[in-house]
């Protein structure tokens, strides 16, 4: 199953890409497990998303939590805490 992942602000710069398509091996998944799979790739993913990094996540453009489910076709975004206004 494939999902679209978007990166914003500092995470976009750290990842070196604004978006990618990612194949999830499992049928069901949640935000925490998706992040762990991305980190397991090492390199820029581990550096940008690894432990201690302040990362916020949205699924289909709603703010998500660690246990928010992720399924095929979803749009998931990773970004730093927001600083608008």
């Amino acid at each position: 199953m494939s999902i679209r992942i978007l990166y914003f602000a500092r995470l976009r710069e750290d990842m070196g890409i604004a978006q990618e398509l990612f194949d999830l091996p499992a049928k069901t998944c949640d935000v925490k497990s998706l992040r762990a799979q991305l980190i397991a790739r090492g390199g820029a993913s581990a550096a940008a998303l690894g432990q201690g990094k302040a990362v916020r996540v949205s699924v289909n453009q709603d703010l998500a939590r660690d246990d928010t489910p992720v399924k095929a076709g979803d749009e998931v975004a990773f970004f730093p805490p927001v600083t608008g206004g």
Binding site: A9, R10, F79, P81, V82, T83, G84, G85
Partner: protein
Amino acid sequence: MQREDFDIGAEIAAFRRADPGIGAIASFIGLVRDINDGAAVAGMTLEHYPGMTEKALAGIVADAKQRWDIIDTLVIHRVGELKPLDQIVLVVVTGAHRGEAFAACEFIMDYLKTQAPFWKKEQTPQGAHWVEARASDDQAAERWSDPQAK
């Protein structure tokens, strides 16, 4: 969301139109400062997440309308390149009375600052850097965490 500046007077005049039910208009205007955390700011770039930004702001406004007896709300947020003195954001709330309009306006700003997907990158003499989120903004939003909070 827009890159261009906005005219506060023209926006409010157009927004209130000729509704005689409006007895109060509360507004907030956020501006670019020339100093942030002790560093001189030459300018900033505001990035956002197209699509989610609109969805998040619509949700915040709907929440405000549920909590307070207000008539309508207007939110304009700029993106792109900004410099000190520039206007960043305008929030306008109309209501029959000032109390509800003031509270709803503050609520919208507190939630916008902690939930709407905008990010500021500042240019300073030491180079460009992403602005860090402030704990004080989280605390400001926290006081509304009870859905009944007013």
